[in-house]
Symmetry: C2
Subunit: 182 residues, 2 copies
């Protein structure tokens, strides 16, 4: 049994109402009104209009000190004040994946300060990373963020910072889906 | 569609004949006569007695120089001379997975010389790593090795070296299945 795998189902009902779908690069996704996040089951209660599947996993780049800082300050998903969310599925180029671990780490942190930047916006922005490259999905990652309405500007700032990094040059598909809790 | 995911099916027929199943630690697997490795499909042609599923992925620890050395010298699977094989499913303790990337890398290479040791036995021993921790499987990895009968001693030496490393202290389930090509 997998309890780390989830389906993101876009369709006509769900816990989150879609307020915008903005395709930044690569192919778009069909417009949907609502999104639900459900544990991955062989027989889904419904299929919706599209379904993206991803799993949580161990950390891939964070080093000991960074990980401890993250754990000390990050918040869980599902806070009642966090009524805003973003689902940003991304895919990276093949040239990213054929790099060795140290080459990817160098771009991820030494050059792009991915963890360092994320830390600045904790605990306001809660986030979770779902992996999906290895399971035949159209994206490599489903990135998920939850925050209070009053932290919306912080979230835009975080995205702006990440999108201008060297790491982001390796992204060839990115769709920014904004949601509010129903 | 996933083309990186494979089923290892133990049963009453298959391309590889099982000559021994030796449980080194943790729960055993039911004895089987044969093994087949087939692309993972929703509707399997047969289920066998047990089925283990794993996917190939990007490198997780090898650094640029190590990766280049590996690529330069390693051989593909399926060589006609490689009539011997080993399937060694392993699982690592939770304490391994909760470590940060640099902590795991330190044990994997600086202390245990995993890649360096493997390199010594290339190209004689061809190998492939299948990941399965993230997809709800009973093991974390399915490790697969192929070699000629005359390189059997080299293979035993490689296993002996790896099993006495610090990395191996984190393994809590390991089954060593030896096979010959039918």
């Amino acid at each position: 049994m997998t309890n780390n795998t989830f389906d993101f189902i876009g369709g006509e009902n769900g816990e989150w109402k879609v307020i915008s779908i903005n395709t930044l690069c690569g192919a778009s996704l069909e417009p949907v009104q609502y999104l639900d996040i459900l544990p991955n089951l062989k027989n889904l209660p419904r299929n919706g209009i599209w379904k993206l599947t991803g799993f949580t996993s161990n950390v891939r780049y964070a080093e000991k000190e960074e990980r401890e800082k993250l754990i000390a300050v990050q918040e869980d998903l599902g806070r009642s004040l966090a009524t805003c969310a973003a689902l940003i599925p991304i895919r990276k180029k093949e040239s990213w994946w054929t790099m060795a671990q140290d080459e990817r780490r160098k771009i991820f942190e030494s050059k792009s300060h991915h963890t360092e930047t994320g830390l600045k916006y904790l605990p306001a922005i809660a986030r979770r990373l779902y992996h999906c490259r290895d399971i035949g999905q159209p994206f490599d990652f489903l990135t998920w963020f939850e925050y209070a309405q009053e932290d919306s500007d912080k979230f835009e700032e975080l995205l702006f910072s990440l999108r201008k990094t060297e790491e982001w040059k390796y992204i060839d598909r990115e769709i920014d889906i904004r949601l509010v809790k129903v």
